[in-house]
Symmetry: C2
Subunit: 395 residues, 2 copies
């Protein structure tokens, strides 16, 4: 996909709801839609120090805090993102001065997509990403665009999902209908019918991704493991049909899209509910983890059957995110769905790099003053230019 047009090296950075660290993707981008060219040139992961991760999760789980703590954590995460960018470039032997732009998602510590009453305002929704972009721009010297979600929300959207816009740019196809599924903490899907226009694309969070399984494994191993490596624990267990039935009754799964999910739905409180059930029924950890794994696959398959396949056929499912490393989850998903499952890596996009890459593309569009949300996915009343530009230090 080379082009004679001038290309830009753009860094995308993302830390997901699991808050395990920062994914950094290096993209070479040129042209514009419909001639946009995006190639992934590098991927790097930088883990958060343990106390930082703990502070993020405590705040994201609704813990009591102060303006001081959020202010300090915002800047500290800015330093972490800057460090991740710098060490990523070092590992790829790409000098920072060759990078033209950084797109940083930041770290979500709160997201409320549906409005509620707040201090007399009847319909207020909001989102809060931290990881100060001024720190990133200063340390790297690179123009940085960050904080994409609030502008979509201001335009009446849910501020999520944002990646479908990029899925649309990357995966639309003249004759094949595709679905792009990302299994991070939460699982989300973008449906791109053959020859789709932006308004034909739709997307939503299907429900949990790795979030529940991760939380259970962390609890059962008393923090020694943060995820079920190669489905090892689930493989040793047996399905608990009663638990599965209870989980499948979750109202989120029945809700019509567009809909977004987060730690509010499937976070610590949810995992605690399962752990309480397990204790009451004296269930084995392996059985609980297997059941949660299968529930996750089923909740995704369920979303296809209820909300996607009645509207369009699907020729290919392109999967990205940490979930691709969970073989049991993948096997169940493919078996239930019955159409070809492709890992995004096969299309040149390493699954773990996908979301970070998306923020490089979103920043590229914002930098050129082009709208970069997908109202059909977020529910926004109109398209908007998302992101806030901070100037890099003059070099």
């Amino acid at each position: 996909m080379t082009t004679r047009k001038k290309s830009m090296l753009v860094l995308g950075m993302m830390s997901g709801t699991s808050a395990d660290g920062i994914d950094v993707a290096l993209a070479r981008i040129s042209g514009r839609v419909p001639k946009l060219s995006v190639t992934l040139e590098g991927h790097h992961h930088a883990a958060f120090p343990v106390p930082v991760r703990e502070a993020i999760l405590r705040l994201a789980n609704g813990g009591s805090t102060t303006a001081a703590e959020i202010s300090q954590l915002n800047v500290l995460l800015g330093e972490e993102f800057a460090r991740a960018a710098i060490s990523a470039c070092r590992s790829w032997r790409v000098p920072l001065r060759r990078v033209s732009l950084i797109g940083s998602h930041g770290q979500t510590i709160y997201h409320q997509g549906t409005p509620s009453n707040f201090l007399g305002h009847p319909r207020l929704s909001s989102t809060l990403q931290i990881g100060e972009p001024s720190v990133i721009a200063e340390r790297t010297g690179v123009n940085t665009i960050a904080d994409f979600r609030p502008a979509d929300m201001a335009a009446g959207g849910q501020g999520a999902p944002l990646v479908p816009f990029v899925d649309y740019l990357l995966y639309r196809h003249p004759t094949r209908s595709r679905a792009a599924l990302n299994i991070g903490g939460i699982a989300n899907v973008t449906v791109i019918p053959a020859h789709a226009k932006p308004k034909d694309v739709f997307a939503f969070d299907t429900g949990p991704g790795n979030m529940i399984v991760d939380a259970l494994v962390e609890a059962f191993t008393r923090g020694r493991s943060h995820y079920d490596k190669e489905s090892g624990m689930a493989m040793r267990g047996r399905l608990l049909p009663n638990l599965l039935n209870e989980l499948m009754e979750d109202p989120y799964l029945q809700k019509q899209p567009p809909k977004t999910a987060g730690r509010e739905q499937f976070g610590r409180a949810y995992a605690l509910k399962i752990l309480t059930w397990a204790k009451k029924h004296r269930a084995k950890p392996e059985d609980v983890v297997r059941t949660a794994t299968i529930f996750t696959s089923l909740s995704i398959a369920n979303a296809f059957q209820r909300f996607i396949l009645p509207r369009t056929k699907i020729d290919e499912l392109i999967v990205s995110g940490g979930g691709v490393r969970n073989p049991l989850m993948m096997v169940y998903l493919a078996a239930i769905l019955g159409f070809p499952v492709i890992f995004s890596g096969e299309l040149g996009i390493k699954p773990e790099a996908k979301e970070a890459l998306a923020f490089a593309v979103l920043a590229y569009e914002s930098y050129h003053g082009r709208t970069n949300n997908l109202p059909s996915a977020t529910g926004a009343k109109h398209s908007a230019i998302l992101g806030k530009l901070v100037h890099g230090r003059e070099r």
Copy 2:
């Protein structure tokens, strides 16, 4: 000050530490230094609803909160700033589409200019302004630049004071040495020697502005008054020399500039200390308020005598901010200092509009990609382009 160059209408918005509401200034700006032309075309004040002000002050005073509350309050204040901009333009009969740019300071809920240890990072300082600019840009349709302080801090500065840069642009004079004093919640001064270059300018917070007197009046009147109108209460009282002596021993006053003050030094805890003293000594409210008023004047005069006059003569003092409406404070100040005191209004800048106007000018410089901090005032290691640009909705 007309110019043939193309001029821009820029809105500046500011809510200070007292959190009583939003000042909106409309500036017509053209050219660039040294031919920059700035004229104030309008000023408007929009009060915050009482519950909003209470929530701000609770957070700013270190009260316990959650990420959810800060997230929601950030968006709610964005709506308040947007509403203030819209009603200001309506009151001036200036259509929003004629406004080219908005500069919004936001509302500070935390500011720590000097570094401390945080989660293993040995030297972290930070600042947190809320009032989501994406909401302002969406509701007004105008490109909005906000959140100026973090970039100065990332460059090693204290993130404050920012207004001295604008004082320098507005007030520098070939033969007169000037000091610009703003008495808001906190009092700050910018010293601009005759024929000064940027590095010759220095600035710092002298200490309390109206913050202490306001808090005392609010306590003594059980919230019926928020400030001492026309010094009425102080005028009826007598000076308490013992209290004044105690207050004058405050270590902040002795500290060498550059230095910044805020609610951390002179907020609720400070007022409570005075109220405790008053109770213990059975002091009359009028006497306490008079003493606090005189203390404020003395703390400013003291700063001139210790830190300014040894370095440069001063030909004129230009005063702005709510403090100019406190006659007793002004009389004492002029009497002690002994050089001409000019209200900024006499130079075409309504005192209450001064800080808001400054953020219009800071945004104008940022928009044109020009640095807009004054390292000699903030302590930053280098000059930087402050502010984050959010695109207005396409119109």
